[in-house]
């Protein structure tokens, strides 16, 4: 971290003396998770139900962190009724109208690929050891609109550490639920489902990268990707995959759905960059939802100081 430079993001930096050495942190987690697994295995079904709802109760208690921007959050009603979730239709209000039909409880996530502890895990077991926190991030869509969202979740890096990727794990790939009974966009095959997205392992463990389970002090609304979604604030919204059912660690770079669909329009990295234009529309400015006129789009969505190191060949080489 460069100190002394004025930043619009308050990024909490603990003093070096307080940073737990990584091996200690990992072994402590192992104790916790092993304990949780043993505990879970010994419990009867009714008690498991109780733990299943426990994570929802923890959402309102999420710590308000200094990960925030100066701008006012987008009003909740606007943020949750204007969404891209093409499985439910391509119009902005369709996810809001239809996504409630999606079954999000029970939910399980498959962890696969280059990882020591693969398997299919119940959501409550995935979430159990993680403390939730609130972070207010800018959100910039590739369609040149933006919002400011108070997310609730935990760093993806913490989850990755728990499942112990092997040394061959260079990328992390994600998949969204596919259910054509409730997803008209899937039933009509408007894209080559399932929705797939991926990050490099360095991007995935970056402290800004969040797995979100809620927003606006409440559980994640289905149209915004309940129960578990990815939030990568320096990338276009399409990288923030919703309703995740699979996380796979790979050595080869995974193919992403939008990249496959229109490679000249949707880069694999999808980093917000006002200088790399979408071929069909302007990327240098954006409309904040509900505002008149447009704002200037910032490099890496304003998070350049925190993420530029991930891209040593300069921003335009990673679009």
């Amino acid at each position: 971290m460069r100190r002394g430079r004025r930043s619009r993001i308050d990024y909490p930096v603990p003093p070096a003396s307080e940073i737990t050495p990584k091996n200690l942190a990992v072994s402590r987690r192992k104790v916790l998770t092993t304990g949780a697994t043993l505990f879970g295995g010994a419990m009867a079904a009714p008690l498991l139900r109780a733990t299943a709802d426990d994570w929802k109760a923890r959402i309102q208690a999420a710590e308000k962190t200094d990960f925030k921007v100066d701008d006012d959050p987008t009003p909740r009603q606007r943020a949750t009724s204007y969404n891209n979730f093409f499985e439910f239709g391509t119009r902005k209000e369709q996810p809001y109208m239809r996504a409630h039909r999606m079954e999000t409880d029970p939910w399980s996530v498959t962890i696969a690929g280059e990882v020591e502890r693969p398997g299919e895990y119940a959501l409550e077991d995935i979430l159990a050891p993680h403390d939730f926190e609130q972070r207010i991030y800018r959100h910039r869509c590739v369609e040149a609109w933006s919002k400011v969202i108070p997310w609730i979740g935990f760093p993806l890096g913490d989850l990755i550490e728990r499942f112990e990727p092997t040394s061959r794990a260079k990328y992390v790939a994600f998949e969204t639920l596919v259910d054509e009974d409730v997803m008209p966009g899937v039933a009509r095959g408007i894209l080559d489902w399932p929705y797939r997205e991926a990050l490099t392992i360095e991007e995935a463990v970056h402290p800004l990268t969040l797995l979100a389970v809620g927003m606006y002090d409440d559980v994640m609304p289905p149209q915004c990707g309940a129960p578990l979604r990815l939030v990568v604030p320096w990338k276009y919204g399409y990288k923030g995959i919703k309703s995740i059912v699979r996380i796979e660690f790979t050595e080869e770079r995974p193919e992403c759905l939008w990249e496959l669909e229109q490679p000249e329009e949707y880069g694999w990295y999808g980093n917000v960059n006002p200088n790399v234009d979408h071929p069909r529309w302007d990327q240098s400015r954006e409309r904040r939802i509900g505002e008149l006129g447009r704002r200037e789009t910032e490099l890496y969505n304003g998070y350049a100081e925190l993420v530029a190191d991930l891209y040593p060949e300069g921003p335009d080489a990673y679009w």
Partner: protein, 204 residues
């Protein structure tokens, strides 16, 4: 004869009201604060869609009247054409005034290298030209040949507007296909009429 005139006049007013109705609806939603999460986008998309559908409807009146054999069915054509022009102008006004907020430099910058804007602007220029020359006076001044030829440009405007829509579509092209199909039928009908193909009936 007079009752017939009254009916035709009534029909024309009904068509006009149908073309104005979406504006009343938008105004009510704006007043009630029900323009959705992004009012600018709602206004932009609604004005654009109404303009395009109205253009197709205007172009359809002629062939429908000929097919049905009732010339009076085409009576509201001029009014609908003018309304199409107004909706398209409103669409551009929303873009320039609310989306760009009169940032002229940026608006111009956005035009550079944005094909969809040029197709839209081309369609608008044609529609404005046809709107201005839609009066009896201009019809007389230009003479029937020139005037009719000029107003055939409405098909060019429709194609340009369709490309304008197509270039902004992501993933779901159903509506684009429906619009393309509709316009293709209208152009085919126009060509068939021009070639004097069989189904043309005498207009009474």
């Amino acid at each position: 004869m007079t009752t017939r005139r009254i009916w035709i006049r009534l029909y024309r007013w009904l068509a006009l009201m149908a073309a104005v109705a979406p504006a009343v609806w938008l105004a009510w939603r704006a007043w009630a604060g029900r323009l959705g999460a992004d009012p600018v986008e709602t206004l932009l998309h609604t004005t654009g869609s109404v303009a395009f559908v109205l253009l197709l409807a205007t172009l359809a009146l002629g062939p429908v009247a000929r097919l049905a054999g009732y010339g009076w069915l085409a009576a509201p054509r001029r009014w609908l054409g003018i309304l199409t022009c107004l909706w398209a102008a409103g669409h551009f006004g929303v873009w320039l005034g609310l989306d760009q907020f009169f940032a002229w430099g940026f608006a111009w910058q956005e035009f550079q290298g944005r094909a969809y804007l040029w197709w839209g602007a081309g369609a608008l220029v044609i529609l404005l030209m046809l709107g201005v020359t839609s009066t009896d006076g201009w019809q007389r001044r230009l003479g029937p040949g020139v005037w009719t030829g000029l107003h055939r440009l409405s098909y060019v405007a429709a194609v340009a507007a369709l490309i304008h829509i197509h270039l902004q579509t992501r993933a779901d092209y159903l509506l684009v296909y429906v619009y393309t199909g509709g316009l293709a039928v209208l152009i085919a009908a126009r060509l068939a009429a021009a070639l004097g193909l069989g189904w043309r009936k005498r207009i009474s």
